[in-house]
Every structure is written in C-alpha cells, then in structure tokens.
C-alpha cells in the first residue's frame, strides 16, 4: 500500500516543487506575478475545449516517441534516438505513400504505417544490435543515428524524392488529400492520439501479462541472471528496440499523413527529444506516459499565451520543462523513505 502511494505522491511533490521554483524564478528574475502566470498557463492548456484540443494535439506525437525510450528501458537500455526513428519513419511513410497513392486510402495509410514502423524499428534495432554484439554504448549510437537520419532525410527530400515544384522548401511529392488521416470526429485532434493511447495500452498488457514481457523485466533486473536462466537476451534486446523504434516511426507517419501531407525538414522539430523527457518523467511506465505527455503538451500549448500576455520569452516554458525534469530525477531518491515500513505498520 505505502509503495503504491509513494508512486503517486513522490511525482506530485516533485511537480509542486518545480512549480514553486518556476514561480520564484518568474517573480524574481522576470518580475511577473507567478499566480497570474499559472492562471494563464491553466487557461492556455486546459481552460477551454479549444485549449484541451491544443494540448492533446501537441501530446499525440510525444506519446509515441516516448515509447521509443520507455520500451528498451525495461531491459535497462537508455535509447535516445527517438528523433532519428521518427524522421526515418516519416520519410519512409512519405515514399511509400507516394508510391501507392492511387490505391484506396485505407491501403495507402496501412502501407505508410507499415513502412514507417519497419524503418523506424530497424533504425533503433541497429543501436540495440550494436550494443548486444559489438558492445557499443546504445545511448551514444542511437543519438548519432539521429544525426544520420536527419542528414539522410535532407538528402532524400532535396534529391531523389523531391517534388520539383517545392522550390524554396524542398519536400517530397504530397500523398494527396484523399489519403490524409483526418481528425477524430467531433474534435480538431488527429488520429495520432488514438494510435498512441492504443499502443500504450497494448504494451502495458504485453509487459504485465505475457511471458515475453516478464522475461524483459528479468533481463532489466539482471542480464547475467537472465542469461543463466537460459533467456536469449539478444533477441529480447532487438525486439524491444525494434518495437520502440516502430512506435517513433509511426509518429513520423502520423506527422506526414495527418499534418504535413508530405515529408520535409519539418519532421525534425524535436518531438523525439521531448519524448525522452516524457519517458523519464513517466518512469518508463506505459500507462503513465499518456498523462505525462498531456502535461507536457499542455505546457507547450500554454507557452504562446505566456509570450503574448506577459511578454515572456519562449524559453520560459523550456525552463519549466527543464526544472520538472531535474525535479523528477532528483525525487527518485525519496522512494522507500517517505514511509518507513515500521511507521506504516
């Protein structure tokens, strides 16, 4: 009981501490009334139906990219190549979508999703494979793979896949309006949100109720023990990395099929990096990823209002994100200390 309570109370305390710190910074450094700022943030993020939709739209890609870090983390790996998998997936989706553009929309969309997941998955599996068989640090290799993915995207978008009519912003050919994903009925939010939530639920069930999920937890606990028990660690490492990469690749497909209608440099706007933050804040728990992504989406949605009404720089919300990140990481040390077993009894 006390453990379950801690899991809720510690992050909430960390968030409150971040809010106090941020408020102090606003009051002292920027000379803005913190209460007014927080009221504006609430209004911009959750204060109306419009604000909610704004928040959810921003949260959608973060849910999928967060899984790219959270899934391998279950095995003790620290993957931060989310941005690269998203970009690679997005370019693959656009290429596949253009190739089959005349097929029925559902076929086009499924092809795009499969292509994006395959390429995104392979991208992160590469980092996992390098780790397993060549001993290369997966954090560094996945980060470097991101730079390669962005360079490749620029090459394809400005070269072989370029639509010659995209003069001053090189892009691939459009996939066509008929093939776009559209929005969830009655809202302004695209389907990426649903994909993300379904993926999180599916992964939760997989981790909680299957032997493969259990095997991954054992490996994350102690890979040597897992090997002695006869578990094929390499296979699980590749699987987790591929699944994580596929999720980020799918986020890239959503960007192409629901937002831009084509692939171009706007794929690399930092959703992958924000996804790392979401995964760590959610402590890599698939069900926690959704509310955390919504929280960060809300902070992003409220940033504009802070700029316009209080004349704060854009950096204000980035500072808040940074404070939250540090506070959550620091709060890890409180687990098991808030309630001593004796006191609880």
């Amino acid at each position: 009981m006390s453990q379950a309570l801690e899991r809720i109370v510690v992050p909430i305390l960390a968030l409150l501490a971040s809010a106090v710190l941020f408020g102090l910074l606003l009051a002292i450094y920027a000379q803005v009334d913190p209460l007014e700022a927080f009221a504006l943030m609430y209004q911009g993020a959750f204060g109306s139906w419009f604000s909610w939709q704004n928040t959810l739209t921003r949260a959608a890609p973060l849910i999928l990219t967060a899984l790219c870090t959270a899934l391998p983390a279950r095995l003790g790996l620290v993957i931060i190549g989310n941005e690269g998998a998203l970009v690679a997936g997005g370019v693959a989706a656009a290429a596949a979508g253009v190739a089959v553009a005349s097929a029925p929309p559902l076929v086009v969309q499924v092809t795009m999703a499969l292509a994006a997941m395959a390429v995104g998955g392979a991208w992160i599996a590469l980092a996992g494979g390098l780790r397993q068989w060549r001993g290369v640090n997966e954090t560094i290799s996945s980060l470097l793979l991101t730079y390669i993915a962005i360079a490749l995207m620029n090459h394809f978008v400005e070269g072989p896949l370029r639509d010659p009519s995209s003069l001053n912003k090189p892009s691939t050919f459009p996939i066509g309006d008929a093939n776009m994903l559209g929005t969830i009925p009655g809202t302004d939010v695209h389907w990426g949100l649903v994909y993300g939530i379904v993926a999180c639920l599916a992964i939760y069930v997989f981790q909680r109720f299957t032997t493969w999920g259990f095997a991954m937890e054992v490996i994350g606990g102690n890979p040597k023990t897992a090997r002695m028990m006869g578990l094929d660690v390499g296979r699980y490492v590749l699987l987790a990395c591929a699944a994580g990469g596929a999720a980020a690749g799918l986020a890239g497909m959503v960007e192409v099929a629901a937002v831009h209608g084509r692939a171009n440099a706007s794929l690399a706007v930092g959703y992958g990096y924000s996804g790392i933050l979401v995964a760590f804040l959610a402590r890599h728990h698939p069900l926690a990823i959704v509310p955390v992504a919504i929280l960060l989406g809300g902070i992003g949605a409220s940033g504009g209002l802070l700029q316009r009404r209080l004349d704060l720089p854009d950096a204000a919300v980035v500072v808040l994100q940074g404070i939250i990140f540090v506070a959550i990481l620091a709060s890890e040390t409180f687990y098991g200390r808030l309630w001593k077993p004796k006191a609880a009894a």
């Binding site: 931060i80 003069l167 001053n168 695209h190 831009h260 940033g303 704060l312 720089p313 994100q321």
Partner: protein, 370 residues
Amino acid sequence: MADRFTIGRRTLLGGAAGAAAFGLAGAANAQKPLVVGFIYVGPRDDYGYNQAHAEAAAILKKMAGVKVVEEEKVPETVAVEKSMESMINLDGATLMFPTSFGYFDPHMLKEAAKFPKVEFRHCGGLWTEGKHPKNTGSYFGYIDEAQYLSGIVAGSVSKSGKLGFVAAKPIPQVLRNINAFTLGAQSVNPKVTTQAIFTGDWSLPVKEAEATNSMVAQGVDVVTCHVDSPKVVIETAERAGIYTCGYHTNQAKLAPKGYLTGAEWNWEKIYVDMVEGMKKGQAPGNFVRGGLKEGYVRTSAYGPAVPAAVREKADAAKAAIVSGSLPIYKGALKDNKGNVVIPAGTSYVITEPKLESMNYLVEGVLGATS
C-alpha cells in the same frame, strides 16, 4: 538536447524589460483595437530574419488603435496552426502575419479555411490567384537588388578578389542572393570569385563559424551570408579582421570595424500600409511584391571602411536599379559549369518568373548546388 534547455540571458532580460513596459502601456483601451498576430520561427532578437520582422512589428505597436500579439520560436508544424488559432480565439486577432516560409502550406491555408473572416498574409510570395483563398495573400521583397549593391561594395573593397558567402540551402531564394552579390562584385572587378558554402540548414551556428573560418584561411576578405541569423558569421569575420556585408537587418553593431553595408528587409513599409488599410476597412493586397523602388528592401548605412568613391559607385547603381535602367540578370550569362543560362541580348526584369526557380550558380561562384 542540451541547447533546448539553455536560456539566453539577453532573452530573459529583454523579456523582463518588455514585461515592465507592457504593464505600463496596457492600461487604456477605449475603442476595440485591431489585433495583429505575428508568428516567428526563431527568437525575436536573432540579429536576422526574425528580428527584421519583430522590428517592424514594434513600429506597429506604437500606432493608435492597434494591438500586436507575438509568438517566437514556433516550429513549422501543427504548433503554428495552434498558435494562430489561439491568437484568433483568445486574443481576437483579425490580421495574421505568420512570417516563416514553411508556415504557408498546409498550415496557414488550413487556418484560412477555418477562419474565413480573418485576413492571413504570409511572407514568402507563394499566393496564386484562383488557387488560394481570398482571405490569404503573400508579400515579399526582391532583396537580391540590395545584394547586388552589397556585391559592388564588396568587390570594390576586396584586395584578394575573393569573396565568401555562407548559405543555408541551395534553394532559389538563396541562389538569387549569391548570384546577385557575385554579379554586383563582378560589375566593378570582373575577376572576383565568390566561395559559396552551404551549411544545410537555417540555423547551424557551429557550421556557420567553421565555414567563415575556412574562408578566412583561404584568403577570402569579404564575407556575407544567407542564414536565419547572420550574427555568428559577422562576429567570426570581425574577429578574424576581414570585412562583412550584412543580411536581413543591420548588423553594424556586431562588426564596428569591418561592416561595409548590408541587404536589409524593410517590412515596416508593408505592415504599416496593410494595417492602415485594414483600419479603413480595406482588405490587404493578396500579392504584394517590391524591391528597392517600392522601399520593401534597403541597404545598411555604409561602414567606416567604405571609401567615398565606392559609396558613389554603389549609390549610382542604386539609382539606376530604382529607375529601371540597370537589370541585374542579363545575357550572356553563364553558370559555373559553363552552360548559358541567359542568352546574349536577353535581360530579365526583377519580377521575371524564370528567376523564381533559379537552380544555378553563376560563373565566378565556387561551389555546387548539390
């Protein structure tokens, strides 16, 4: 990821000062003001593309009955759609200026369909009659005219005859600037060459500094650029003791010794015209273009290193461009692979549509478009 968490002290101080000013100014609002929304892709104080717009927006703020709302660092994705909606829904904006090129399609077009009563004007010149809705439009300046004048000054002042151009991407807009700059320099010294280096993206400070330093090492003695923020290039060149020509806005403060002149936007002309029209109930123009003559672009005041004779030469060329007697692009013109791109006897006016899809570097430019 590290740079996502850094915060410029200047940015924050500027924000604080602005916040104080806002508190004083936001007191009285008798009549319903015209709310104008500005969206920038980078920071407002970047000494470059975004600052050029923000300086013009600051002039609008001083107009009576006008309220300006701004957002900076808004990426060219769904975020800009939401920023526009937020300005319209929460602030009552009725005139939007999304200033970055990539905001147009699909983002601004999507919002324009959603809010038919709001006027959207985009910086970049993509609007096409019959294809795009009436409540949208675009405006742009022929800044290559100003680049040509920078080239005249650079070509006259250079001792080595080697000029440098740090550029983001080999897209038509950038190629026009490199070519105009080079042609201007060649008009005073036919032997001048321009070393072009493409960094690959609009804001890559480290690569921009590396490119500038490598040019200095090659003997280049005047450098200019087309990236979002010329700050790094100008400062690096000043430290190395070579001359610079600015871009987007005036960077003389960054290089008091070596700054020669620069090609600047003059967006205030367009913005003030459009806002005054809106207040009288006229919708802004759908396709607004102009160069030196219309006052949409201008050159920076000459720096101390520019001799009087050179100033006269550049001023004479400026007068000739304004009067229409000096076409920048005229035949016979070869690209740097030896192909004739403009045949002998042909000359293009600055509005020539063929120039909009320029895909070559002229003879005398060292570098490749791909």
